[in-house]
Symmetry: C2
Subunit: 396 residues, 2 copies
């Protein structure tokens, strides 16, 4: 029997093929308003101090604390400074200037008396209680000094980080680029979602599912196509795809049957099509067309999903800067059997900290896959794992 | 001193104002290809069995197990069934039909012999090893029977659930509707992101940040506007907003200053504008204009973010079907002081299972807010909490 390639060997091959392309276009600049959820590729730095000028924390009166030692005291008011006060003002000793929250605190003032501690009177304002020097004054730079990274590099742009960038006066940010991915589902038996079925036909699951997986992994779907087993049709779809995408995923047509269009078109171009020692997901391939990497997944919908999780998700998430999804050890709630010689990815659900297999190993069980939360990783050299043993579990 | 409204009282008021509007438009139907991340409002049910017909699990030969009792045996092959075989075939006893993975298994056959266990010969195919009845045959309905909910109601449409819906022949799904939200930032001092600043001016943080918060909470931003303190300009923005949105958020203009445009325009229309016993986020308001709820947040960017997390995030996430973000108890790594009479939301970071306050209470500290992971909830009647005490912590 031919020795099959292992999962790790194939993962290494796919990473070597796809990695350099994804690394080549690492950064793009996007408007801040479109940056939610992206990952910074550089620190976001404030050029000026934050806040940009000394300003009032409350609506009230800018004053000199020295004038407020004895209260109550009535002092004259020289005017009002709105938040957008456009001219610098100075405060004369013994006077007040009314300030709105956020207004520049005038030179000469060292505190703000909240409006609640005052009363308007003829000829001025009565300060009922004084405040300390510095009270209710926000100093320029008290949040960040010029040159501060208000958001570090490699950081997820949550709304509060977008806020800090906006406050720093930044309108565009450098973020990790989202790889552009095309998906081509193949198979004469595959018809459009929702179309009526004749005998032997099934609905296209891979097109919509791989597109969703690509998007969930942070990349952009530029094209979803569906072709029959006709070589010319597949070739045309492939050329459209490589013209637009950084990476092309195909589904189906890499098995041992008589109508394997992906294999038929790509093998003469030097594709690597082989059987991996894994289940589901045995038949796999890869190629490069006009410099664009092509990753060929099996056509079975569960196999395609498992293959994506194992071979592609880590690469795409890494490229956009999303954190890796690590496998975790977990006890098995029920024993599992597995064919020896193939690494098995069983669908599982987690309850009370233990994982149970769900729905059997059949790779046509898309409903069981939908209900699963994890893949249970059964090593190739294992044919039985007892309940209570620890297994490695990959979150979906 | 006037008793201020509590956070819970105001949260109840906002829920009573906004809840019925969000509930009114609960469901919409979207194409499956646009359903990633949405939440089902009804179960997705398969009309037919899944798989739809009995089909081959492997490329190989459909056979009768009874004909394979003694192997090797050479049997005649009556033809090939591709996966898309459009006509039903029957298998004659003692014969084989070649089948591709996914092809209908012909009547009369009860098993599939994998191609790896066979050899082509003159006059037929040599079966090297037999298989049991049922081997490598996927029965119709073995994944799901007609009428099965392949995805339950109230379920997040992850890619694998989109796969199950596609396989069930569903092209459109009923999902929780995403509320349409408009954002209006106010303030004469506020200028567009990235624009140069004069004295007294600051960049608009609230527009881009509230839009990001709305989107992160699963809702749709239909409009982001920015107006000065001019009442007519704000009124116009408000009318545009209520024409398009289910909910309008305003930022700024609800405090006690002399230039409070939101208060000035909305109070004559019956707005509720008040001071909440919380910090940051004291000044808050709400109104209803042409039947559209208006929630008025304070203008300070940290106050606006905290107010959104406390009053709006639960309502929007609930409306779209996202799980609630619950506060969790956690030990304090360092003591905190807090003014009595106001519920304080301190920014915090979590390390080794304990929370530390970050950057002080000042509501102008947008950079500290950006670095925070949680809000530490300090009750209104508390002015000090010692290190090691358990506090309630709200994830951001």
């Amino acid at each position: 029997m031919v020795r099959r390639r292992t999962v790790d060997e194939h993962a290494g091959r796919i990473a070597a093929l796809v990695g350099p392309t994804l690394a080549r276009y690492e950064t793009e600049v996007v408007p801040l308003a479109a940056a939610l959820g992206r990952v910074t590729s550089e620190p976001i730095v404030t050029a000026g101090p934050m806040p940009p000028f000394r300003n009032a924390q409350m609506d009230g009166y800018a004053a000199r604390a020295a004038d407020l030692r004895r209260t109550p005291v009535v002092l004259p008011v020289d005017g009002v400074l709105p938040a957008a006060a456009a001219t610098a003002r100075s405060l004369e000793p013994g006077h007040l200037l009314k300030v709105m929250t956020g207004a520049p605190v005038p030179d000469g003032a060292d505190c703000v008396v909240p409006i609640e501690q005052t009363l308007e009177e003829d000829g001025g304002v009565r300060i009922l209680r004084g405040v300390e020097a510095g009270a209710f004054v926000r100093e320029a730079g008290s949040d960040a000094l010029p040159g501060t990274a208000v958001v570090p590099a490699h950081t997820h742009l949550a709304p509060r980080r977008i806020a800090a960038a906006a406050a720093a006066g930044v309108a565009e940010v450098a973020v990790r680029r989202r790889p552009r991915v095309a998906v081509i589902a193949t198979g004469a038996e595959v018809v459009a979602p929702g179309a009526p079925l004749s005998l032997g036909q099934v609905h296209d699951v891979n097109g919509v599912t791989l597109a969703a997986l690509v998007e969930e992994a942070g990349a952009v779907v530029v094209l979803v196509d569906r072709t029959s087993d006709d070589a010319a049709a597949f070739e045309q779809a492939l050329l459209r795809a490589v013209a637009e995408a950084d990476l092309v995923l195909t589904a189906g047509g890499v098995s041992k049957g008589d109508f394997e269009v992906v294999r038929q078109v790509l093998e003469p171009l030097g594709a690597d099509v082989t059987e991996i020692a894994m289940q589901p997901g045995g038949p796999q391939g890869s190629a490069s067309v006009r410099g664009v990497p092509i990753v060929c997944l099996p056509g079975n919908p569960v196999s395609a999903q498992v293959s994506f999780a194992v071979f592609l998700r880590p690469l795409l998430r890494g490229a956009v800067g999303l954190p890796p999804i690590h496998a975790v050890p977990m006890p098995l709630a029920a024993a599992v059997h597995s064919p020896q010689g193939k690494r098995q990815w069983l669908r599982g659900v987690v309850k009370d900290g233990a994982v149970s297999p769900l729905g059997g190993p059949g790779s046509h069980l898309v409903v069981a896959m939908a209900a699963a939360e994890v893949l249970i990783d059964v090593p190739a050299d294992t044919d039985f794992i007892g309940a209570g043993s620890t297994v490695s579990v990959l979150p979906l």
